[in-house]
């Protein structure tokens, strides 16, 4: 195996740093999306179950959910 040039070493170091940065951002976005998806799933299920047991949704469901969603974020994140 030939000797790695200084240029190559600098390139590798920069690339490794860049890759690890991208990896970290990618994982963060995955977690965020997955958690948002789960909270959204709870909202949809609550709505669906409430209707299935005969409750009439009289209040502005979505607006109230948005106002209280922080509680669910806190519980499940």
């Amino acid at each position: 195996m030939g000797r790695i040039s200084d240029d190559d070493i600098n390139y590798i170091v920069d690339e490794v740093r860049d890759e690890l940065g991208q990896l970290s951002s990618s994982r963060y976005r995955q977690v965020t999306r997955s958690e948002d998806s789960f909270i959204g799933w709870i909202r949809n299920q609550v709505y669906d179950i409430a209707r299935s047991i005969g409750l009439i949704i009289s209040a502005p469901f979505r607006a109230i959910w948005d106002a209280i969603r922080g509680f669910f974020d806190g519980l499940f994140r």
Binding site: E15, R29, V31, R33, A50, I53, A59
Partner: protein, 271 residues
């Protein structure tokens, strides 16, 4: 008891208060029933395996991609159990144990695999299977110049159906580690400078190819990666989550099992 049920029990009172805000006409019994059913539905949803359709030519690395993402042990080049939905439609599907639970893989037949099927039947088959799937991964061998199959499939099957097929589609350019000039930096598990340029050009070509034929395609879901090296698997998985229905993304995420990329790099380079 699962974590979700534990949290519900621990915070039941607060949960019920929030439900009362949300559903002011509800009784206490109804709110308790909602909490109970929510817990049951969570368990049922978790037990439904994420369904993944995998498309691509033989040798593109379909099984190795699923194995690398979910810790499954699909034999590479496997032939799955055949299920016949209707006489003329055949899809190979397999439910396999992953590191974090079961997933179902639909191994989609390639155009021309069955000479008795015409293009309309392929389209029908793809529409049917993809409508049931959480996400579809189209695996292309990035190192291969033979794009005839993929072009024909895109033109004849994907393009005419527009959103039905494209909304859940992720395109993976696998085996980028084998691209010319073949100078992968093993210690850093990264492409060399010249290889990186080749990969970028290939990606550009594939993006143009898909965009020309399927204008609605989300090109951010075209990901160069290597299943064998564990390179850019997180980006591939992120694209899959983005393609997945919002209500199912958390279930898919729960099945993820990707080797830590940093563990594939020589520790000396991380100092």
């Amino acid at each position: 008891m699962d974590r979700f049920s534990q949290i519900l029990i621990k915070h039941k009172r607060q949960f019920e208060q929030k439900l009362r805000q949300l559903l002011p006409d509800s009784t206490s019994e109804q709110r308790q029933l909602i909490i109970k059913r929510l817990s049951e539905r969570k368990r049922a949803e978790e037990e439904k395996p994420p369904k993944i359709a995998i498309i691509g030519q033989a040798g593109a690395g379909k099984s190795s991609t699923i194995n690398a993402l979910f810790g499954t042990s699909l034999p590479v080049g496997h032939v799955g159990a055949c299920t016949t939905e209707e006489a003329e439609l055949r899809v190979e599907a397999q439910t396999v144990d992953g590191a974090n639970g079961v997933i179902t893989v639909f191994d989609m037949p390639g155009l021309g695999d069955d000479p008795d099927l015409d293009c309309a039947e392929y389209k029908q088959l793809y529409n049917q299977v993809l409508s049931e799937c959480d996400v579809a991964v189209w695996v292309i061998n990035a190192a291969s110049r033979a794009m005839g199959y993929d072009k024909q499939m895109i033109r004849d099957v994907v393009a005419p159906s527009q959103d039905q097929l494209t909304s859940r589609l992720v395109i993976g350019l696998n085996q980028v580690d084998l691209m010319q000039p073949g100078s992968w930096f093993h210690r850093a598990n990264l492409p060399s400078k010249s290889q990186k340029e080749t990969i970028a050009k290939r990606l550009e070509y594939i993006i143009e190819l898909f965009r020309d034929i399927v204008p609605g395609i989300d090109v951010s879901r075209i990901i160069p990666y290597s299943a064998m090296r564990g390179y850019h698997l997180e980006q591939l998985f992120e694209a899959m989550l983005n393609a997945c229905d919002s209500d199912r993304a958390w279930v898919l995420y729960g099945r993820k099992s990707i080797e830590d990329f940093a563990a594939t790099i020589d520790p000396d380079l991380l100092r």
